[in-house]
Symmetry: C2
Subunit: 347 residues, 2 copies
């Protein structure tokens, strides 16, 4: 129950001043070797470690960065965190995590709470509600206070800051192009409602690929899921009604649910129907059949985001460059068992 020892206590114990203790521990040449060694020995004995809070207050730096994400029980976000944590730790930064639970209010509250000195910068992905409301005042506020923000995955053009994204539109385009090249004609799309930015972009990529190849867009072949938790029934009905020969799903969950639905109505994957998903996570890997998917490397994404943030934090003082960058992470198609006759893709 002994509290951690402080400079003051050491000073008192050794009958010197606080500054002498501090200088001794930092190997200042001002202090005689005698005193220095004595102090260092004593400090070591009592396992002295400087108090981080006091340091933060003095330096106006906390060496902590905050991550705000919609949810954590989600393989992709978990990998991003892992990537961030890794490079942050290498640079001596801690990572604090807040979940917005897809709620605008929680996002705002968390940001305001942390912005008051607790952290040096944010890495975030927007909640659905925030994207829907398109209200970003809390983020703008923070940026105006001089706190750097890096956005990833679910970003918005309405905010000027560093971003790291994948080219969702292109990734979807390439996936569809690949299906077309392999002779699939009736390619269905299972996507989210449009205010989820990544869903929208992937949908656009799908549409663009069809148009580019002069394939008619059949609205019946597009299913937009609102309630992600109850998607099994609509997906099954959708497949039964339209009998597509290929399905492109904008996430893992839709993909695996499509496969289950297809099986249920007697269709074999990939013999009768091919399925491509998005996000190479646990599900795609361990599903039977395993799922061909557009892979987005969360570790890399998180790592890049952290690098950008830390770079801005450390350079901030010297160069006051307001030049924001947007990094695009490469995606690639991971071919597994859920697609038939898929030739090597071009990406």
């Amino acid at each position: 129950m002994k509290r951690k020892i402080t400079l003051k206590q050491i000073a008192k114990e050794l009958d010197v001043s606080i500054s002498t203790v501090s200088k001794s521990l930092r190997d200042s040449p001002e202090i005689s070797e005698d005193t220095r060694l004595k102090v260092q020995a004593f400090a070591k004995l009592y396992n002295y470690k400087p108090n981080n809070i006091a340091l933060s207050l003095k330096n106006r730096k906390t060496k902590t960065i905050a991550i705000i994400i919609p949810e954590i029980v989600h393989h992709f976000f978990a990998t991003v965190i892992s990537g961030i944590e890794q490079v942050a730790n290498e640079s001596g930064y801690n990572v604090i995590i807040c979940l917005s639970d897809e709620s605008f209010d929680k996002e705002v509250i968390n940001m305001e709470m942390l912005a008051n000195g607790s952290i040096d910068g944010f890495i975030m992905s927007l909640s659905k509600e925030t994207q829907n409301k398109a209200d970003f005042h809390h983020i703008i506020e923070v940026i105006n206070q001089g706190m750097p923000v890096v956005m990833f995955d679910r970003v918005t053009n309405d905010i000027l800051c560093d971003k790291v994204i994948i080219d969702d539109n292109r990734a979807a385009f390439d996936a569809i192009q690949n299906l077309i090249d392999n002779g699939f004609k009736k390619i269905a799309l299972i996507t989210t409602v449009d205010y989820v930015s990544v869903g929208k972009l992937r949908t656009e990529g799908y549409l663009r690929a069809l148009r580019t190849n002069d394939v008619n867009v059949d609205e019946n072949l597009i299913l937009r899921i609102e309630d992600i938790d109850n998607c099994a029934v609509p997906i099954e009905k959708f497949i039964a009604a339209n009998k597509p020969d290929a399905v492109f799903a904008v996430n893992e969950l839709f993909a695996v649910t499509a496969i289950k639905g297809a099986k249920k109505i007697g269709l074999n994957v990939p013999e009768d129907i091919s399925v491509i998903g998005f996000t190479d996570g646990i599900i795609s890997k361990y599903s039977s059949p395993s799922i061909t998917t557009v892979s987005q490397d969360g570790i890399e994404m998180g790592g890049k985001a952290a690098k950008m943030l830390i770079q801005r934090l450390e350079s901030e003082d010297e160069e006051e460059e307001e030049h924001y960058r947007t990094e695009v992470i490469e995606t690639h198609l991971v071919e597994r068992e859920s697609t038939r006759a898929l030739k090597r893709g071009s990406f």
Copy 2:
């Protein structure tokens, strides 16, 4: 680029003292209504928020708790975090997350770094390496400094602190008992090496169930996986060699891999072989067939852990009770498609 405004700046601007500003904002009766309202208006205008770091230093409390877990790209740990975060936020606490990557050194470094004032308490699950070395000095150190620690899931008896666990032994016992009750004779076990505490306990439960039912323990029917990343081949060989009629796997990954392996050698699940897993995560739910599994509620576990920690933090000053508790979270069997003829369990 304007920094956040401070009491001092407000004071200067309004030509009063810092204390007057502080007291006004805290609605102190010492201050006249005139001044009070004036200050409050000004503060609101400039969006004043007290600096958390300064408060932490003054109060010697950070209102932040740290979670240290082996990895985050793991559904169970992710759910635990989610549970912790939820109740922590309700009580106004932030959550800081560190990953040990199953490494003893990283665990030590993270704890030491955070123990210097950055946080108020720990919630942690031991890394494999730490369990293997059985070196807990870093944790003991922290506890001796009066910082509360709550351990969950992977715990150790060598440390006195609050804990929240599931009764792994009993959960495994019940699962096996259930298989036995349903007529399975040749029940295989796929487990981890013994120094992983939960693996060990689940193995013991398996053994106990067999012995209790006078079933001979056949060491050939027990597979201990060391390298979790390359378990597919050994598991497939194991099943091919022993042809069990049921498999109990101590985690999701082993379970799904067993199913894939069984399929590969021409066995149908559950017709030819039944599989029960442990941990009700994404994989079990979306695998085909979906996997019958012992469910451990990570959200509840995290929530309980956070409650215990916060309670200790808030009561610490008054009652100095050194009475540590160990909470046991109930498990139950989630029956899905990977088991045949399984009667309703008794738990």
